[in-house]
Symmetry: C2
Subunit: 368 residues, 2 copies
Amino acid sequence: MIDPWSSALINYEKLIEQFGIKPFGDLITDIENPPMLMRRGIIFGHRDYGKIVKAMREEKEFTVVSGMMPSGKMHIGHKMIVDQLIWYQKKSADIYIPIADMESYSARGVDFETSRKFAISEYITNYIALGLDFRRKNVKIYLQSENKTVSDLAYLLSRKVNLSEMKAIYGFSGNTNLAHFFVPMIQVADILHPQLEEFGGPKPSIVPVGPDQDPHIRLTRDIAERFKTSFKFITPSSTYHRFITGLTGGKMSSSKPKTAIFLSDSPEEAQKKVMSAKTGGRESLDVQSRLGGVPDDCIVYELLLYHLVESDDELAKIYHDCKSGTLMCGECKNKASRMMKKFLDHISDKREDAKEMAEEVLSGDLKC
Amino acid sequence: MIDPWSSALINYEKLIEQFGIKPFGDLITDIENPPMLMRRGIIFGHRDYGKIVKAMREEKEFTVVSGMMPSGKMHIGHKMIVDQLIWYQKKSADIYIPIADMESYSARGVDFETSRKFAISEYITNYIALGLDFRRKNVKIYLQSENKTVSDLAYLLSRKVNLSEMKAIYGFSGNTNLAHFFVPMIQVADILHPQLEEFGGPKPSIVPVGPDQDPHIRLTRDIAERFKTSFKFITPSSTYHRFITGLTGGKMSSSKPKTAIFLSDSPEEAQKKVMSAKTGGRESLDVQSRLGGVPDDCIVYELLLYHLVESDDELAKIYHDCKSGTLMCGECKNKASRMMKKFLDHISDKREDAKEMAEEVLSGDLKC
C-alpha cells in the first residue's frame, strides 16, 4: 500500500511493476517540444497519457488539475508542479488549481481563513512569480471549502464508494476522524468536476502528481468508470514525477528547513545551502581526478538537473566532466550556487510585483 | 442498538430505562397550556427539556429543529410533527426545517431535483394546509443540499468524530456507502447551526423526534459537548413521541398504503379505511356489552387520541363508554370516520390555497 500522507522515499521501479504505472519514456517521442522534466526522466511514469498526447496534437480541449496544499513554505521541489502548469498553459490546457484547505483542516486542524491567507501569501504569490499567468482565462483557482459544485459532486459520487475500499486504499482505522473520509472524495471531485456539463462536458484531463498521490488517482479513475453512464466521464490521465532529494540526503521537506531551499530564502542563504549540500564527490581531489565524481548520487547535480540548467547539452557536459574527473565539486558548487542566487534574485523581484495580484486572484478581482 | 433507518416498533419503556430518556410526565405540570400530544402521553420522553420549559417561561429565545424527509406520501402519523411545530410557533420559537434531500439520495438514490419537487408538492403544501405559518419570520426552511453553512459546519464537526463511533451508533459495515457517513454529520449540523453566531449565537434548542432518531440525538449532543470551547453550543434537548399504529396493526408506513391514511386520500377513501380498521372490539356485541371494549388495543381509538378529538373530556368519555360496554365499535367507527372526513375535507380545501405558497416558500419569494 502507498500511503499518500507519509513522506517515505519511493522505489520508482516497483511502482511501475506493481501498480501498472507505465514508463513515460515510451511515449515521449510523440510529444512536441517536451519540457526538461519530461526529457530528463524526472517525469518517469503515467497512466493513460496517450489521451493527452492526442488532445495536444489535435488541438482539442483538455484539462490539467493540480492542487496546492496551503501549509508549509514552498521549496524548490514544489517548483516542478508550477513548471508543468506553465508548460500546459502554453499548450492551451484549461488549468484547475484547487487549494486544499479542507485537507489542511482534516490533517492538521488549520482553519479555512488561515489556509486562505497562506495560500495567497506563499503559494499563489510564488506561482505568479514563477511565471504562471493567472490573467489568462484558462486558469481557474479555488478554495475547496468555497466550491459548492465540487462538494456537491463529491457527495453524489460517494454513493458508489464503500467503507472497505476506503480502508483498503488509505488504511483508515477505527480512530480515523470522519473528516479524513470526506477529503479523498473532495479530491476526486476536484479532478472530475471540469468534465461536468457546465464546464464544457467530458474531456481528457491530466493530473501531474508525485507517486505518493497514486491512490487518489486510482480511486478517481475507478469512480469515473462507475459513473460513466450518468456523467460520461473520460477516465483521467496522470503523470508521476520523481522527488528531488533533500539537501541532507533524505526527502526535501518544508517541515525540515535544513533539507530544503525555500523560494523565500534570501539568495545568500540559498547559496550557502548549495555550498554545504551533500555531493557525489570522492574522499580527495586526487581520487576524484582518477575515478571521477558520482553525479547520480549528488544533490548539487540534482539541483542542476531538475531546475538550474535549461540546456540539455550544457547539463550533459557537466555530467561528463564530473564523471571523467575534470570537474571538481568546489567549482561545480560555486557555479550551482551562483545560478541558484540568480534564480532566487529573479523570483524575489517578481514576487514583489506578484503580491497584489495574488490577493486579487482569489477574490475574483483580477482582470483577464 | 436502535437503528434509525429501520421501521420496527419500539418498546418505549425500555428506551427510558436503557438509554437515559426521561419520562415526559415528570415535567408536564411545568408547561403552560401543553398541547394534547403532551397531555396524553404521546410525547412520552425527553432529554434536557427543562431548558426549553425555562426558555418558554422566561420568554427567552429558543429553537426547534425538525427535518422532513421528502420521500413517501405524508400520512396522518406525520401530522404529529406539524402539530408540535405549530404549537412551538405560537410559543415564539425559531423554527428550522431542513429538507433531507441528501439523506434521500444516500438512502434511496433520489436526485435533489426530484426531492425538491416532492418536498414542495407533498410536504410543504401539507404543512401549510395543517396550519404552519411560513409567512412568519420565525420559520426557516431549506434543502440540505443547498445550505452551505450547514455542510461547512458538518465538515468542521466531523474532525472530532471517528469511524468506530459511527460503526457503533449506526452499525455501518464495510459495504456501507460513504454518502451514509456524511448524512449523520449533516443532521448534526442541521441541529447545531442555529446556534452559530450569524443566527444569534448559543441558545436552547429542541428536536422533537420519534425514538428511532435517538442515535442522531445522542451523537449531536456528544458533538455539541466536544465543541463547547470553540462554539459555546448549548447541548440540544429532545422529545420523543410514540408512533401511531398502522391500520393493519403494524407500523403506519407510506410505503404500505393499506397501513396508512394519507393526507391526500379522498375523504371518502379515508372514511372507508377508518371503517375497516382493526378495533379493540370483542367477538360479539353481547360479549362486548358485558366485558366492555379494549380501547388500549384499538386503532380507531388511537386516531381519536392522536388527532381527531381535541377535548380531553370528550375523549375520556369515549374511553369510558367503550370500556364499560355502552359504546359499540360500529357507532364509534361511524363517528371517527365522520371526523376523519371532516378533517380531510378541511385539509383538502386548505391545500388548494397552499399550493402556490408552497412554491414560494423554497424559492424565497414568499413575503413575510
